[in-house]
Amino acid sequence: MAPVQQSKTDIADEYILQLLQDARSVEQGFRLLMGKYQQPLYAVIRRIVHQHEDADDVLQNCFINVFRNIHQFGGKSKLYTWLYRIAVNEAITFLNQQKRHATHSLEAGEGLALSQLPAGDSPDAQALQAHLQQAISQLPEKQRIVFEMRYFDEMPYEKIEAILHTSVGALKASYHHAVKKIEAYFKTNEISIL
């Protein structure tokens, strides 16, 4: 009987952590960790930094930091929450560095919003999505991250709190402000969703 192939995402975090604790199995543990989490973390990072090349740099730094600090993971939160937090922090640090070097312009974000839209939708639907991305790109960084976590990833506030280390009250305020600003963008530009 052929052995059942176990999916990378089915591998228990405890097992991966156990492998990472032992010098003889650390490489195997690291490869399993990456296999399980590289895609979701890439998606998180890519949404924040937009460009693939930037997301690649950030993701690599993220996993290097994860590997160096995995022994500090105390198990108080889920491993994914801990990884997600590192990924978001790395992405924000990257954006801040870009701002300091003045190479990250608003136009880059706008270009992405207008060009990288889901294929297959009607032109109207694509235009609406383009406007939504445009409105999101104009939000302040923190509001944008909170909005995307809530709107696209459908995260409960408690989980966002664990990732961003921000109180639920402050997160609700950020999300509400973000929604109102996006709504105002649609009204200002006389864009009808119906």
């Binding site: 543990g29 490869r31 889901p118 409960p156």
Partner: protein, 168 residues
Amino acid sequence: MSQREDILRELDNLSPTLSKLKRQLPNAEAPPESYFDALPGQIWQQLKLQPAAASAVPARAPWWQSLWQPRPVWLGAASLLLAFVAGWFLLRPAPAAPDLLAALSEEEITGYIAAYIQEFDTDLLVRATVELPDASALHVEDTDLEEFWQEIIHSLDEKTLEAWLNEG
């Protein structure tokens, strides 16, 4: 009510317009093909090139090195103890010398002075004696006093003695 329904209801309350918009992620999340196949090996190579930091397993330091590791709680307690001892030392009340003297009887004091009179500084003794309204209050024997004055007179040079006599 499910978590998803909560989020949708919240969005609907905040912005009915936005809640009608179809939620879909832009295609920006799609990386180049086979990107994820190569990435683990690529990062592992980077980690191998940085051997100092390439260990997820924390190296166990010798036990004696732990003595020099910062211990916030211990350091805090030691600092507090040190501050307390230093404060006590600097701010402690001065020894109550006047009280000790007050506990001595007049006879004990005069007896002590008489017994150790040879050891007293003569100038200080002269000043103290002169300042006293009544030297006899010390109840020093006349012979001792005479002997003391003789010593003082002998210790004085001629000029000082002459000056004293002229003043007297």
